[in-house]
Amino acid sequence: MSTIQTDLDSSLTVGGRTLSSRLIVGTGKYADYDTMQKALDASGSQVVTVAVRRERLVDKEGRSLLDFLDLSRYTILPNTAGCFTADDAVRVARLGRELLEQLDNPGQDWVKLEVLGDKKTLLPDPVGTLEACRELTKDGFKVLCYSSDDPIAAQRIRDAGATSVMPAGSPIGSGQGVLNPNNIRLILELLKSKEHGGDPNYPVIVDAGVGTASDVTIAMELGADGVLLNTGIAHAKDAVKMAHAMRHAIEAGRPHSQAALRHRQQSVERRDQLHPGRVRQGSEVRGQESGAGEMYQGPCLAGDSRRAVSAFVQSQTSCKCTRRVANSPLRERQLGGGSVAV
């Protein structure tokens, strides 16, 4: 039996480069470097974020991060984490660029810009972020800019020259998922729709607060071009399996967002008549994440049913992975309402 090939649109173009994965993964907070290395491999990610710090953190054998990162495989994206002023963020970005030039890594002119406004919540400082974004863009950086989910702030950051806007789903490390999907939709509309002077190819990557595989799928179903996460994988009971789950979650959500509903009104009416438990979107298989058994998956009125079926298959695979890590401490925090992780 031949396999029908479907374009699942899995590559992401940002800053003039086409990446093989829409998932960007952080390298912090892992139990050990060996686990980090395996989790990055399982995630399928091509871009990984790093921080710039004074101390070289070494394990018992004296090995540091760079001993575990295949620089020929991964593009390194330095962040400006821990910076509370535009000036500090600009300095750290330049230090990061210097390091990647020494390592001859393709991420040399990239920076994940963070200018924080509050030490507890790690929410971004909108004014400092704009200042730093303008300065770094002028200095030749491709700025992937961490932002709140405020649509106007996102617009301003795009106008300041950012290569990508990265709105937070929820506070960094909180695992609360996408708290305000309407704002994410508005950001996507303002930045990507032609009627608002946007560019459909402008990359919007949901960053921060993503804790579960279904959070990732939801972000992608909303229409995001990618997801960046760290804590959701690093703090899982089984980080490698969670990385697998996140990889499949990305692959589930993207085809869904591309498979437009043929008859949207008809589907809304039909939805009201559907038997309870019938699944309409890939993200709705999240019942399995909390330990439910098999899900009944009903028909869907997708304009591209091949992509929709692929999305459901990937969702199932993703949930089989997350079900096995359902008891991780991070999950418990999420299910308990989620407080800001410090």
């Binding site: 390298t27 907070k29 980090m36 790093v50 710039v52 710090r53 540091s64 990061g96 960094i172 760290n230």
Partner: protein
Amino acid sequence: MRGPTPTRRACYHFNMQVTINGERKELSTEKSVSELIELLGFKGRAVAVEVNRQLVPKKQHETRQISEGDVIEVVTLVGGG
């Protein structure tokens, strides 16, 4: 008539106060940036150096001398999100 006075060789104890990664340090000899990197045990590792909030590119490490009162940052890449 007294003969010429033998010249006394000037003696002094070299002591340069600098700040490295937030800590006050004393350097007992003059140092270039690359010598300082070696002194800190980072030779052969990827590190970036700032002196007085200005990046010193690697190609200047051999020639750039540390001065009294310099505030120096020596950084590297670590895990982060």
